[in-house]
Symmetry: C2
């Protein structure tokens, strides 16, 4: 092919990829136990955020979350026993992304954890994510004490049951809850849908409310409502699974240079490219810059971790930052910074989102479809919102901030692309 | 007094007025029938928006709403009979503002209508407002057909009863619902709290939700939730009554040149000044500029009407416009327009609100405390958001837009001030 022909081929592949990404129409349709629904999740397997990684290379945050999950599964009775199991290779690990799943921070999903089941109406494909525990001391930040496990057990015993009742009715009556509609409304209400999900959580509550009245008893209703309404990040996991559906629609399109996953396991950050299959291109995960809780600083921080950058991959989070002025109180910075963050994405993406609109940017769509060619041309990498976990297992969240992705994965992806397509 | 001494006296009076305005802390504490709670509301009296006005001078919108209220009260069986009662002077009219009350558009409140009871924790004073019926064909837009009256009857029979149950429990347990807190959160979520109350309505629902579960049966819960959640303007009336509490706190302070009421009755727009007691300074109400529903234009529009400009009086609505980019889809204009609208208020107010913050304006407070001196110096009058009603009784809403207040009332107020204080 001539250079012009190749350019046209890439451009047309990217256009298809991003159209599919935008037209994906994810609905929350059910909740179930991970082991029953997530494809190829084996009985002694634990999924985690980011690219695949072995125990030896895992950061403190991820190790903490995995040990907690082993206790939760009752595969061991103590942290010591749990560590022995791991060292004896009795537990298998894999990346959430390899199982149509995503999870924030450590992103740990084990077979007996409840998960949300999201169905893409465009492709009939599914994506899965765990339930958000709330901020502070939480498994996803590497904490695993009694309080953390008690809450997770309550979530499996009760929250799961309540949501199951509601979603089965809701699915039957309305085909589930349309997540794209909630996300686009939330963008009009100051969420960027990664680190701020206040409106999204309220809009989600509004959807399920009539089912709470109608199908739960008073005690159940109060417990469910109190859990969800006290956690402004509850909707995050649903945004992530919706984003996973969208990104998957753009994946595996020959010649496409569009980024279809960005994820961190606490040691490495990795990306996937539509035209390059399931290969991860990685680099060392950076330490986020941000606002720390009192008593903590960047020297306590675990390197960046979590699948939540799937939101940036589809035009949310950092890409939609200009929609969310209030977020600077949570992650630091000024109004100018958030506008620059969205502008930065405009320089490395191929289009404006049709559905995700930023009112303050004169109703322009969010920058969508990150193109590795544009990253290499501009030298600019995506900036993402993120939570910050303590690097020592067992402690939990210590802040929130912003991370600038390293350029190496994008560079290596482009080199691999050149080899693959013989350009 | 010397000129300097007078200036200092005015400045200190204004400072006291606006501090009190901001520190007023209105809580929704109860619902009741208007006739039982609103001070001096006589048994055959109907309250209306704006300055006092006689039937002969009333616009079509206000006449329509009053005739509807007479039918609702069963003082007459037909519109013809209702008109006869009015012409025979059997019905007394007065301004809501003279009875610690406010109502959007026609603002009609009759003795058997249910009202919200708002208590200011700072002063222990009360304010009252009616329940919002929703958009379209509604009494407050001058419509009075069977559909309108059926809904109003349902509101009195059911909505009132449900809210009574909830608020009595809520008042006992928490002292009611803090409205200032909801309003300040809503400003972070894209409401300007006059023509956009999407977040406010959701946040209000979040507050009452646990009481819906706990104290209503399933049918009641569903009816209440469905009514409130399907009307994004439900929270408007509560913002208005909260604003009335705030404005009242700033009223009647000797030497103060701060505006403490802006209200329109559909014929005239009137203002009150803190240091000039209960006198209204008026001019002809203008026709708003805005977006009309299909089939209607400005020639169908009633002149501007409603007490809802009490929101602009305390730093919301037009003053907070820059917080609400999405509103331009409802009232017209661009992002630049909304920023200019807030900037216009900055030139005619004396301070930034301590509690009402605009994230996009680098977290500056909303412009608060309109000073008639600044209006006369700059030649700029407040711009307000507003609904647009058909000028013919019985039709209803035909659009929404923005109105620029005439300068005459401010000019006359300043002249009256000079006479009163012998300056």
């Amino acid at each position: 092919m001539t250079t012009i022909a190749i350019k046209e081929r890439i451009s047309s592949a990217n256009s298809v990829a991003v159209q599919r990404m935008m037209d994906s129409d994810p609905f929350l349709v059910d909740v179930d136990l991970a082991g029953k629904r997530i494809p190829n999740l084996k009985s002694k397997m634990i999924l985690h955020a980011g690219p695949p990684i072995e125990w030896e290379d895992m950061s403190g945050t991820l190790r903490g979350a995995i040990l907690g999950a082993i206790l939760l599964e009752k595969w061991a009775d103590s942290i010591k026993e749990a560590e022995e199991l791991v060292v004896l290779k009795k537990i298998e690990f894999d990346s959430c992304h390899n199982h149509s799943s995503v999870g924030p921070m450590a992103g740990v999903i084990s077979p007996n954890m409840p998960v949300f089941v999201i169905k893409d109406r465009l492709s009939q494909n599914y994506a899965y994510t765990n339930f958000n525990e709330g901020l502070g001391k939480a498994l996803r930040f590497g904490a695993y004490d009694e309080e953390v496990l008690t809450k997770l057990n309550w979530m499996r015993e009760n929250l799961f049951k309540f949501l199951k009742i509601i979603l089965q009715k809701l699915e039957k009556e309305k085909g589930g809850i349309g997540l794209k509609s909630i996300i686009s409304q939330a963008l009009q209400m100051g969420d960027e849908c990664h680190n701020r999900n206040q409106a999204g959580t309220l809009l989600f509550l509004k959807e399920i409310m009539p089912y709470i009245f109608s199908y739960l008893d008073r005690k159940q209703a109060n417990e469910l409502f109190s859990f969800i309404s006290s956690n402004n990040h509850f909707f995050l996991n649903l945004v992530m699974a919706a984003s996973k559906c969208m990104a998957d629609q753009a994946h595996n399109i020959e010649y496409s240079t569009i980024v279809t996953a960005i994820a961190r396991n606490g040691t490495e950050v990795g990306i996937r490219i539509s035209g390059l299959g399931d290969q991860w291109f990685t680099d060392k995960a950076p330490i986020p810059e941000g606002l720390y809780f009192p008593g903590y600083s960047s020297k306590d921080a675990n390197p960046d971790i979590g699948d939540s950058t799937i939101t940036e991959t589809v035009g949310l989070g950092g890409a939609a930052m200009a929609a969310s002025p209030s977020i600077v109180k949570f992650v630091g910075g000024t109004i100018k910074d958030i506008q620059e963050m969205t502008d930065r994405f405009r320089r490395i993406t191929i289009t404006q989102n049709k559905y995700y609109i930023i009112p303050f940017a004169e109703f322009e769509g969010t920058p969508t479809g990150i193109d590795i060619r544009k990253i290499m041309q501009s030298g600019l990498t995506p900036k993402a919102n993120t939570g910050i976990a303590h690097k020592t297992p067992g402690i939990g969240q210590i802040g929130a901030g912003i991370v600038t992705l390293p350029i190496k994965p994008f560079k290596e992806a482009l080199m691999s692309y050149a080899r693959t397509y013989k350009i």
